[in-house]
Structure formats: C-alpha cells, structure tokens
Amino acid sequence: MTLLTGAYVPGRSVVHRTPAGLKLAVLAAACTALVFARSLVAVGVATAVVVALYALARVGVRAAWGQLRPLRWLVVVLLVVQVLIADLPTAVALTARLVLAVALAALVTLTTRTTDLMAALERALRPLRRAGVDPGRVSLLMSLALRSVPVVAGIAGRIREARCARGRERSVRAFAVPLVVGVLRHADAMGEALQARGLDD
C-alpha cells in the first residue's frame, strides 16, 4: 500500500548516513536557534545553510517541494498579515524562519528511514522505563497501528459500498457508526489474538 511508504528518498549522501538520533538532536538545536534569528542577515545565513544541506543530500526538487507545498497558502497569508501589522523586513524574516524550520525537519524525514526513526524513538523512551513505559510494548503498539491502517481503510471501503447499496450515500451515521463498531471488533479480535500469544503473562 503506497500510503504507508513514508517520504523517504533513498540515497548514500552524508546526510543519509548520519545516525537518526544525531539528526534529530541537530534538528532540535537548529529549530531552537531559528527562534532567535530575527534579523534578515541571520535568516539569510540560515537559508544558505538549509539550501546547502538539501544540495548535499541530493533529494531532488520534487521531494523537497512535496514537503513544503502544504505551507504555500499560509506563507502568503502570513506575509500579508505581517506587512500590515509590522514592516516588510520583519514579515520576510518571520515567514522565512517558519519555512526554514519546516524545511529542516522535512530534510530529516526525507533522508531517514521510518524504521530508523522509530528505533531512535524507542531508544529515546528507554529512560522512561522507570516510569513504567516498556519500549518493547511501544514498538509493538506502533506496528499494530501500522497494520491496522489498511485494515481500517478496508472496513471503511466495505461500509461505503454497503451504504450505496442501501441507497443512503449521504448519511454520515450510516457510514461512521458501522465504521467505529467495525474498528472495535477488529481491535478486540486483535487483543484476543495477542492474549492468546501470551502477551499478558
């Protein structure tokens, strides 16, 4: 199912080969630094760095645009509102800061496998073991949810067809109530299967 492939662009660049944990740490530090970049010069330097990183990663323009596309209208609205309440340089700096933060985060997503990010998340949760968080169960949860997405989409598709057959295409309840009940049935069957495999022992 193409829905679940993620946005990863395979590659062998330095950016790709950097460990996921390090990339996440750098991303956090960079996003914090961006909060303090208020002058046009600082934002210009940051833009140059981000563009250089994208060039280094060689993910391609299409993939990069795919990540930034959802922001396009927001950027227009932001620029207009900022120009009205402040001045043009402030507007450009504030808007660029936001786009840069999103672009950097997207670069991590584009150059890191989903499984590597999940593994990094699992490692980050390890100190929480004292608070009762079991990293093994967290990764089980993530794979159960991933497995459930196509199943739930399948349930939704079946119900949509049934709804058409009954001539109630417009009724939201005729769609959503059976969907929720179907999801609960699936969940409880999955829960029993896990119990049968001794997960609660």
Binding site: L3, L4, G6, A7, Y8, L24, L27, Q67, P70, L71, L74, V77, L78, V81, I85, L98, A101, V102, A103, A105, V108, T109, L110, T114, L117, L121, R129, G132, V133, D134, R137, L140, L141, M142, L144, A145, S148, V149, V152, A153, A156, V172, R173, F175, A176, V177, L179, V180, V181, V183, L184, A187, D188, M190, G191, L194, Q195, L199, D200, D201
Partner: protein, 210 residues
C-alpha cells in the same frame, strides 16, 4: 515495577486501532458535504471518538501513538501530511490538541455511567473540540508571530465546521455505544474488572491480567 502500569493486550489493540481510525478518517473521499462539492476529512473527529469510546488515558494514548507514527515520517495526517515538518509548522498546537481533547472527552464520558446519554457525549465532544482550538490558536500565534487576536480571527472560519464535526462525533459515538455495549468506557471497565475479580476468586486459569 513496570508490571503495575503495564497495559493489557486488549487495551494495546484498541489504542492501535483508534490511532489507525484517526488516520483513515483523514483520507480524502471518505465522505462529502453538500452533494459532492466540498470534500471534508473527518480527521478531527478521531480524537473525540477515541476519547468517548476508549476513555481518557487510552484515548489520549491512541492520539499520541498517531503523532509518533507521523513523526516517524508516515503521511497519516489529513491531506497526506506527515514527517517531522508538521511539528515545526504552525499546526503543531492543534496536533497536541488532539491528545488533550481525547483526554478531556474521555474524562467526561467516563464519568457519565455505563450507558452515557447523548447529551453527555455531545457536551464532551463540544468541549473537546474547543480544547483543540484553545491549544492550537495560541501555539499558531507563537509559531507564526501573528498576534493572538488576529490568529483568532483567522481561525473563526473553522468554528462552524468543527462544531458540526463535534456533533457528528457525539452522534456516532452514542450510536456505536448502543450497538456495541463495550464501547462505553465505564461499561468496559466494569466488565474487565468483573472478569479479573472472578478469576482471582478461584478460577484455575487465574493469574492472567495486570
């Protein structure tokens, strides 16, 4: 130590399934308003349904799980958005709002008995929906640098749709609870605790849960 707060397998499965349900509700084309003119995704119903049916803690965990998968790069948010970028963008507050509103809805529905009346679920969903906005708007204002009043005015356009979705969510949750009694948090808790009680009271397969 970890055993005390460890979630039973049945709860893990429900949490995972509702994370998936919220993702699927974000797929376009699952339903249309006003004929086929306006495709609407129902994703913001996800947290409300999760809270109303799973209860506060499990509902909130299901939404947190969805966010973890999104952070890992999967395009599970409405419109196929995903990846770490959304957590650096202006809508991050609404995403945190998903977790909080599921918790709030769950708290209210859990307290309204084994067969929660529609009015309770409706009130819970409306409050939950308002919670998402109350988390989302200030964060959006902080991220974009647009003052709070302007951000609030820009968000007014979403309020009718969000209200409609909260009403839908309440009707759907109540309908599901009538069709599947285990869908009410209090009823499920009672049944699960009853089963544990029976087991510890001399059943030889005992020991099981916890």
């Amino acid at each position: 130590m970890a055993g005390r707060s460890r979630l039973p397998a049945a709860d893990l499965a429900r949490i995972a399934a509702f994370a998936a349900l919220t993702a699927v509700l974000g797929l376009p084309g699952s339903f249309h308003l006003f004929g086929n003119a306006v495709p609407v995704t129902l994703q913001s119903m996800g947290p409300l349904l999760a809270g109303a049916i799973l209860g506060a803690k499990r509902g909130a965990l299901s939404q947190l799980l969805l966010l973890a998968l999104v952070a890992a790069g999967l395009p599970l948010l409405a419109g196929g958005r995903g990846g770490l970028g959304v957590f650096a963008g202006p809508s991050v507050g609404y995403l945190i709002g998903f977790v909080v509103s599921a918790f709030v809805v769950g708290l209210i529905v859990e307290r309204s008995g084994r067969r929660p009346g529609v009015h309770w679920v409706l009130a819970a969903c409306l409050i939950g929906s308002a919670t998402t906005l109350a988390m989302g708007i200030p964060v959006q204002s902080a991220v974009t640098g647009v003052p709070l009043t302007e951000t609030f005015q820009l968000s007014l356009a979403f309020i009718p749709g969000d209200t409609a979705k909260a009403v839908f969510a309440a009707l759907v949750a109540s309908g599901a609870q009538r069709a599947y009694p285990d869908a009410a948090p209090a009823a499920r808790r009672e049944r699960v605790e009853g089963r544990v009680g029976r087991r510890t009271g001399g059943d030889d397969t005992g020991a099981g849960r916890a």
